[in-house]
Structure formats: structure tokens, C-alpha cells
Symmetry: D2
Subunit: 333 residues, 4 copies
């Protein structure tokens, strides 16, 4: 098995989904080892680096990619299996960027109040203990938190010729910022343009659900993924699968719309998986769904609707491709 390794140089970073020429063509079935820069574009390296001075908001969430998947056409389904995510630096950064985040006015929920203090936190990575260290900026409090690597951003080129910032989560995936995007997960994305043109980035060493302050423990990441192509069967919105769960992600505003989207996507998936009538699917999901919020801070809010496989009969989704990819991943180790 050949593995494609790729570390972009600064000039190759993409800041949008769509609108960028592919960095590489790959074949379905390829294994990729990708390096991605952190969401701040390496602008915050100490607590003295203030986001208002150092971060250029035109150049955040730099993407590694896009990759052109041979044979991918509109209506197909791209399956990306995350084999492994490993921090590529010994520290991560977080910050309260002025007028960005969930508990402050923003450019949308705009108000006339003063901004919150522009503050930066640096988390030291301890690879042996598999932790990141929180240190208070306004006191002595310290605590080690478990490492929990995830990708904030995985997406394909949008439909209709649109080009969207890498800060946006939408139908095409993008900046969904869900902790579910971790090693062991397969994400299914509908293909909108020839070649799919997927990219990834925005590695988080750890993130709470909601990403309340607007940023996670942001860090450069090494990602190992397997990319597969399913002809047809494009879901309307991103679907995820791991060994325990099926999930759908909705991203819109207000947040109840994100929820409605993810919930309906999951109603549809239940109908397919179990050959159910819409009303029975709606009922069954109502009693079995878990609903963890993903982000409440991006251009769209993202909600995950999730179901434990253990609760329902044993069936295969997308022809059982997740199991196959898991097997391939295991053999790589």
C-alpha cells in the first residue's frame, strides 16, 4: 500500500472551499498523511501574542488541499476515514479574539458593548501523559486535560459554483468543529464538483462541545486518512460513522434550524437503514437520538444528531464501507 505524504508550504494553503486549484490528484482508496497548520496560521506562539495584533482574519483556518479525487462526480459520495490524528507541535494555543466567540457580541449578533479582553492561552502538550496543560492567565490555577485530537474542518467544494471561507460549515462539510471528527470516524460528504476537491485543517488537540470562546486548543496536526469514493448515494448533509454510532451534522442559523437539518437527515438515514416509514423513523429517532452541540461560534452553528448502533438492529450503511476502512486502518498499525 502506497501512502501519499503531503505538507503544504505557506503559498499552498487554501482559505476557501472551492475556488482553489487542487494541490494533487489522488485515486480512490489512497492513504494520505497530511500536515496542517493551526487555525491561527501560527500567529500565536506565546501568551503575549494578542490575536488583535497578530492574527490576520483573512488568513485563518488554512486548509491542506484541495485534493482532486479521480472519478468523483456530482452526486457521488466521498468517504474519508480518519486513521490517526497526532499533534505536530508540543503546544497548542487558544484565544478570545475580540468580537468573535459565543459569549460576546459578534459581527452578526452585533452590540454596542466593549469587547472582552483580548487574551491568549498556551497549552503545553505532554505526549507521554497524553495531555494538554491549562494555565490560568489571571491567577495560578492549573489543570491537565486529556488530549483529544480532532479536525475542525473537513470539506469539499460547494455546489452551484459557490466559494466559501474555511470558517464556514455547511452542506459541504467545512468548519463543523465537532469533537466527533476524530480518529476512527468515517465522514461521508456529497460530491458537488468533479474531483470533489476536499481539504482539511483546523486541528484541535482538544475542544469542548460548542467551542464557546470561539477557539479550541488549536494546533498543527498530522492526519492519516483513507479516501474512498462511492458512486452515487450523496447524502444531503454530512454523515459520520464510527464503530459505535451513526451521526448527521446540520449547520445553519438559528441553531434550531441546524438541529432540524441534522434530525431530518437522520430520519432519512433511519428510513434507508431499516426500511421504515417516515413517521416510524421520526418516532424511533425521537426516543434514541443523542444531540451534542458542535459549534455555536462559526458563520453557521453546527449540531450533531447521533444514534448508538447498539440500540438498533445490526445493519450496514453505505455498503459496510466503514468496517472495511477500519480494517484497513488496523492493518496499517
Amino acid at each position: 500500500m502506497s501512502i501519499v505524504e503531503f505538507t503544504p508550504n505557506r503559498e499552498q494553503y487554501a482559505y476557501t472551499f472551492g475556488g482553489v486549484a487542487p494541490v494533487m490528484h489522488i485515486k480512490p482508496g489512497s492513504v494520505l498523511r497530511l500536515w496542517s497548520e493551526d487555525a491561527f496560521n501560527h500567529a500565536l506562539t506565546s501568551v503575549d501574542d494578542l490575536s488583535s495584533e497578530k492574527v490576520d482574519l483573512r488568513y485563518v483556518n488554512p486548509q491542506t488541499g484541495p485534493f482532486y479525487v479521480e472519478g468523483a462526480e456530482q452526486g457521488d459520495t466521498l468517504a474519508i476515514h480518519i486513521v490517526e490524528l497526532t499533534p505536530a507541535r508540543t503546544w497548542g494555543a487558544s484565544a478570545t479574539i475580540p468580537f468573535f466567540g459565543g459569549l460576546t457580541g459578534t459581527d452578526r449578533t452585533v452590540n454596542l458593548q466593549d469587547a472582552l479582553p483580548d487574551t491568549t492561552w498556551i497549552y503545553e502538550v505532554d505526549m507521554d501523559r497524553n495531555t494538554v496543560g491549562f494555565q490560568a492567565r489571571f491567577g495560578d490555577f492549573e489543570v491537565e486535560l486529556p488530549m483529544a485530537p480532532m479536525l475542525g474542518t473537513v470539506g469539499v467544494a460547494p455546489p452551484g459554483g459557490e466559494v466559501r471561507s474555511s470558517l464556514v460549515p455547511e452542506r459541504f462539510g467545512g468548519n463543523m468543529d465537532t469533537p466527533e471528527m476524530r480518529a476512527g470516524t468515517t465522514v461521508f460528504l456529497g460530491v458537488n464538483q468533479e474531483g470533489a476537491l476536499f481539504s482539511l485543517g483546523d486541528g484541535h488537540y482538544r475542544q469542548g462541545e460548542g467551542e464557546a470562546c470561539g477557539t479550541a486548543v488549536e494546533g498543527a496536526m498530522n492526519s492519516t486518512i483513507i479516501v474512498e469514493l462511492i458512486k452515487g448515494h450523496a447524502p444531503a448533509w454530512p454523515r459520520l460513522e464510527n464503530d459505535e454510532c451513526w451521526m448527521a451534522v446540520g449547520s445553519s442559523r438559528p441553531m434550531e434550524d441546524s438541529w432540524r437539518i441534522a434530525q431530518v437527515e437522520m430520519v432519512r438515514w433511519y428510513q434507508e437503514l431499516f426500511d421504515l416509514h417516515q413517521m416510524d423513523s421520526y418516532q424511533l429517532l425521537s426516543q434514541t437520538a443523542e444531540v451534542p452541540v458542535a459549534n455555536v461560534v462559526d458563520a453557521n452553528y453546527s449540531i450533531v444528531v447521533k444514534t448508538q448502533k447498539a440500540l438498533v438492529p445490526d445493519v450496514d450503511a453505505f455498503g459496510g464501507i466503514h468496517s472495511e476502512l477500519r480494517n484497513r486502518a488496523r492493518q496499517m498499525k
Copy 2:
């Protein structure tokens, strides 16, 4: 230890928080064994009972209570510990009430489309296997789901002389519809009126997060609770604690406001628990929060913000009262 047992008769059901004379005065520290009717007021007993014909929406979510807690004054904190929840019937019911629920137009998100089919599901309870049985209404699909008893509704009289329907979740608790309201949980509610005047009801044998179709597996419930009073320290919004987690519940519209409320309540709690500056609390919570949606179907939407105690230093909330109540609960068994 004396235990107060109470089963209301039909004339004693309360349909509001506030505005109702107490059924009983109790002392802080009392143990109560309460029976509550199901949310449909026993109107749906077979799949042939249609909610549009049988359910009177003026008389749903019948409450057991209110109870007057001696010594409770405005600004105090009522702590209700749920010792045990046991189904009081051998079946539960769920229904898609026309223009009620999350994936249909409602009286608020009103539209001109036809209603979804008015459908009733009956779930058989198997106490030995500890399950409820889902049976499709439009096909042969069946599946047993784990029993997971919870209370949809726990609340006190509202502030400012308001009286609210038992369908409403708000500052005063009420119809929060979170699966976290289960045995082993202590809920902390700010007291607004003399005597607190708490009531409970809306037992669910099982509910998915969000309660998407508008109703859970609704059933009459036997609840054993311990009621304690803390002088002062009223939280702004309901707080919950179990052995693993601290939680806050926000209930408003749109859903991002529910989230903001719960998130800020938890930021404040972190500040108290760990003596943190607001900004450090915001940061730490951003990286540690879990955010399960509770309901997206009631008069207000409810969101839980939750933190695992294992992630942070070992401290006591509300003077360690949850541990004490857990001990008392264990001794009862």
C-alpha cells in the same frame, strides 16, 4: 426516617407552576414518594386513541404538587435529589400531536402546510428485561429499547407573580425535558416565592435528546425524592449534579440563547468552584464542556451544559450536599 407518600387524585393535579395552592407542607430533609400521571393525562391507552381526539391540551403535563417547603424564602436554593424513578404502568405512550413537535410547523414556527399524520405508539414495558418495546405503526419493524426513566418536569413557582403552564421550561425549571433528570441527580432551583412550591411530573420511560417528535415514551411514574433547602445561594438558572457531572440548563428561544444562558451559568459556577477569573473560566469551560440538547419542542428550547468532574480538581458544590443526599439515598435501599 419518615417518608411522605402522595398520590394526587384527578382534582388535585396542577397544570401550572405558581397560581395553585399547595397540596401539602413539608419540612426540609423530607423524603417523598410521589405518583404522577402521564403527560397525556391518561388519554392515550391504545394506538387507536388519536391525540387530536383524546388529548385536551389544556390538561397535559399534570403536576404532582405543589409542595410548600417550610422555611423556603426568595433567594434560597431548593435541592431536590432523585432517589428512584419507577414506571407505574406496564406501558408508555408516544404521539405526533398535530402541529406540535420539532419537525412540523407549530403555533410559533407556523406554516400553511398540512399537519403530519396524527399517530399514536404504545410501548410495552418489560420490567424483567428493563426495556420498552417499539413497534412500527406503518410496518413490522420492532425493537426493544433500554428503559431510562426520567422526569420531564421539575419546577418551582416563578418569580414576579407569574404563573406558567406546565409545558414551559424557564428559570424556575419546569418542562426542561432533559434525560439528565434521572435517579442519582440533584437539581438546584432558586426559590422565588415563600415555600418554593415545587411540583413534578411528565415521567418518561425513555426519551431521546431533543424530544424531536414532541413526546417521549410517556408514562405514569413513581418518584422517590429527598428535598433539602439551602439558605441563600440561589442560582440564576437550574443547576444539576450527579456523581460524574455538574450541569446547567438554559431554556429560551432561539436555541443559541438557551445555550448562551446555560454556558454563562456554568462559567459563573466554574468561577465559584475554582476561584477563577471570568476569562479563565470561559476558556476552561470552552475546552471541557459537553452540550447535550434537551428539548427543541416546548414553549422554550432547553440546552444542557455539562462538565465531567473527573476533568477538573475535586471540589464541593453547594457545601457538598449532593454527596450527603447520595449517602442518604443509598441507606434507604
Copy 3:
């Protein structure tokens, strides 16, 4: 024609819709001359009075009433025609109450930012010129604005035994804060409880649409109204009529739901007025509606959907009662 005059004393002020004994029984057809206190309960009388120090938020929007209308039963329609609104003081007050208003965080859209400066403005009334005078608090700018008296609050007792704060706009009317509630307007409210139990207050000498800062030019008001009762025909949400327009008011959250409510209420009204199919009514209203925002600062946001009578065929609403009331009003002058 007998006229009922009523000026409440402080002990008679009502702070809720519902939950208060009537101050008086009146017969349908009565003319009332009512005095109402300002929304701040007379707490702000100079620019040095700060709302955070002087205003007790439990006692704002004091209502004059409630009045028990003889013969009014659930399902009836109360028609209140506003004959005349006259400032009862020579000055009005406005203020930016901390964490209250549209361009600041609130108890719902809560954030961690500092409050805006707590500021009070006093507007001098010039009855000859029919103006109120704006004077900048942070500079020398002055401008006279036309007087435009309106009532922020007109409502009946809520359904289902609820009691709501006089800050709330809802199905039952209440704190809708629309400049359309001025002399010459008839408001139609569905009756929920015997006697209807209507009250009014929150006089504004002038208010912009949206009431952005949270308060209008608040002032004590003399209101002359005629109260009529229509048996049956209760609208689902408040409807308004003046000589030029028909209107419906929706009050909920998020604001698109307020709009949906008012729009559907108006679709229904078009169907009744012109004997239209729902789809034709929807289409015709889509091309003829005016949609002025009323408030974006109260417990619910209020939106008015309005249609110019001149655009559509000449028909009578509610049996032509608005014209009759206008005639009676003219004869009074």
C-alpha cells in the same frame, strides 16, 4: 353618554396580565378615560436618576386595570378603540437600563461583556408645538421631534390560567410596543377568561420601530377609549384596524417566528374578508403586505403585518365595528 374616569392609586397598579382582581366592572360600549403611570413607575425624573439605582424591575409597566367587561366569555372578541392619547406630564424619560435593550447582551442573549453606560434622557414636552425635545447627554446636540403618543401595552388575561408580566407581549396582546397603537386605532383581542380583564399602560410620547434601546419616550398618559364586545370570532392573535389599514401582530422568538405568526394571521384574515383560498390569500398578501417591526427588546419580539385598505376591495371586518367606533369617537369631540 356616560364616561367612566379612572386614575389608579399606587396600590391599584397591576404588574401582570391575569392574576389580579378587576378594579372595576364595565358594560360593553363604555367610554373610559384612564390615567396611566409611566413605564419606570415615575422613578426617573431627571438625567441624574440612574435606572440601575432607581428603577425596581419588579414594578415596571404598571397597568391601569384590569377591567371586567360584563358578558365577555372565552372565544369572544374584545374591541378597544383608542379615541385619544394625551401626555399627562410635561416631560418624558428614556434610559439604557444595564443589560436591557436590543444592542446589548440581555438576560437571554447573555454575554460576558461589560454593560453599556447606564444613562437617562429627559425629553421636554412642548404641547403647543406638539413636540418632545431630545438633548444629547454626551454633547450639545438638540432636536425637537414630533409628538406621536401611543400605548406600549394593551392586553387581556392570558389563556390556560397563566399570569404574565406586563413586560410580555403574546397572543393576549400585552407589551407589543407598536407605534400603531395610537388614537384612531381599534384593537381586537380574543377573550380567554370571563370578563376579559383588560388593562393598559406604558404610554409612549414617541417611539421608533423596534424600540432599540429598550425604552421609548416614556410618560404618564391620559387615554380615552371605547370598549366593545363582539360575541365569538376571537382572532388567534391581536388584530388592529384604523381607517387606512388592517394589521396583525405576532410576538415570539426568534423574530422570524413573530413574523410567521403575524403573516399567517393576516393570511387567515384575507381569506375571511375576501373569501379567498389559502394559496390565493398567501399570494395576494405576499405582494401587498407592509411589515414594520414593533419591538426587538421585550420578552418576545413583536412584528406587525399590515395591509393598506386602498389596495384591495372595500369590505368590512368584524361587522364594520371600527367605522361605528370612529363615528362615536368623532361625536365625542
Copy 4:
């Protein structure tokens, strides 16, 4: 004065803001006479044409443009004055596209209900009487409505390299769908890319505020405009001016965010126009704003905040350019 006339052929239609090569370079000060196709791309020409069969949603709102304005750079302000709008056909069309519009579930506010009936209305234009004729599709009702031509869509290329569908209203203008975009109005848009790259289309012969059913009386339009360039001074969001009013347009979700955006943009504008402190500007606008809803049906909802010049001191905005353009427009007639 030379006038640039331009009628695109089908291959020249643009369906996005950004991402399209300019059809023409023009100099600041140019007068343009532009023809634009209707929003349905001429797919609905009789009531028997159903939108679900005839309308291709990838090709709606065809834009005339984009035009490259010489000398326009990021941070500049494009001023487009609408001299005249004249229907280019003798009929307009409207339709209730399935799952599109304000009183139905959509792809965002998604539900499980059946779609509303897919219905098309054709409005005959009477140029002599200056009216469009509504004819009920489910009955005999007819009414003539005044012609009120406007442009649904005027926009420039977005910032950050984004490309957005011509269905989207945003910071860059776009599909704002406000009746204020009529002859006599000047719209000010911040320039994001070299050449500004503005386009227009989506002519409406008439539209109610909110555009409730999702479509106006859609028609091909002849637009005469004057295009000017102001160096610097880019507003954050679109501003409009006519002889009577200043206006700002906010476009986001939920609708209260659209309102906050427009309100803050207008607070800023008041500060500039009258040299006011932020708090005084907030207060003065709160008592003088008019707030007509523009659309509640597009990818973002749009709200206009508007102020009558007659209420406030006489000052010039953007150096008085609106008056100059009005003069030039008058001289053309």
C-alpha cells in the same frame, strides 16, 4: 453624456456574486441602461408552468453584469443611483416553489410535512394604468395593484475571495429584496475586490415587504442607473439614500441579527452625520427609526432600518453625492 446600453445574452448571465469575469469595464460617472431577465429565467410564462417542472434552481436570479468599475479598490464605496426602472414585459409571474418561501418548511427550517401546492400566478401589466393584475387561481377574485418596480438584487463581489449565489443577501448587497431599491434611490456598497464587479437583476414589478411566498411579481426589467465611485469610506453594510430617507440593510439569521446589524450600521451613520456619542446616537435612533422588513425567505433574512431626514438636522451624507446624482438623473429626462 454617453449612455452604456447592455442586454446580456443567455450565455452572459451570471448566477453568482464574485467568480465571474466582467462583461464590461466602465468609468465612474457612467450611465448604464441595462436589461435583466426575470428571476425564474423566463421559465414561467403561463399558470400551467409549474416551478417544480420548469424552474432550474441552479439558474435563477440571473444577473446582468458584473461590471468592472475602473479605479475601484478595496475599501472604496460604490454609489449606484437608480434613475428609472421600467418593466420589459407585459406580464410578471409569481409562484409558490415547493419548500421555498416563508410559510412553508424549507431546506433550512426543514420539516416532514408535505409541500404546499406548486402554483403559478401570472400578473398582466397595464402600462397606461400603471398596474399589475392579480387573478385568483382557486376562485374568481381579481384586483389591480399599483405597479411599484424595484430590483431584488444589487451587489458587488464578496470579500475574502468568496463566491456567493445570486440568491444570497449579505454585506456585499445581493438579494436583499427590499422595495426601497426603486427609482430615486442611491445604494452605497463597500468595494471588496478591484473593479467592485457589481451586477443587478431580479426585477420585481411589485413586492410586499417580507416577500412572504418566496417570489414577487417577477419580471424582466429595464434599469437606468448612474454609477459613481467614492474613494474610501466603505460602509460595513449596504446603505441607501433617497430624497426623504437614509437607510441601512442587515442580512443574516435569525432575523433579530439582521435587525441588530442594520441598527448598529445606522447608529454609526448617525454618529458620523451628527457628530454624536455612541450612546446619544443609540437613543436618538431608538426614537426615530422605521424598520420595514425586506425579506424573510432568502438564504439570509433582510431588515431595513430607516430614518426620515425631515426629523433631524439637514446634513449631507457621503459628501452630498445623492443630491448630485438626483440632479443628473433629472437632467436626463
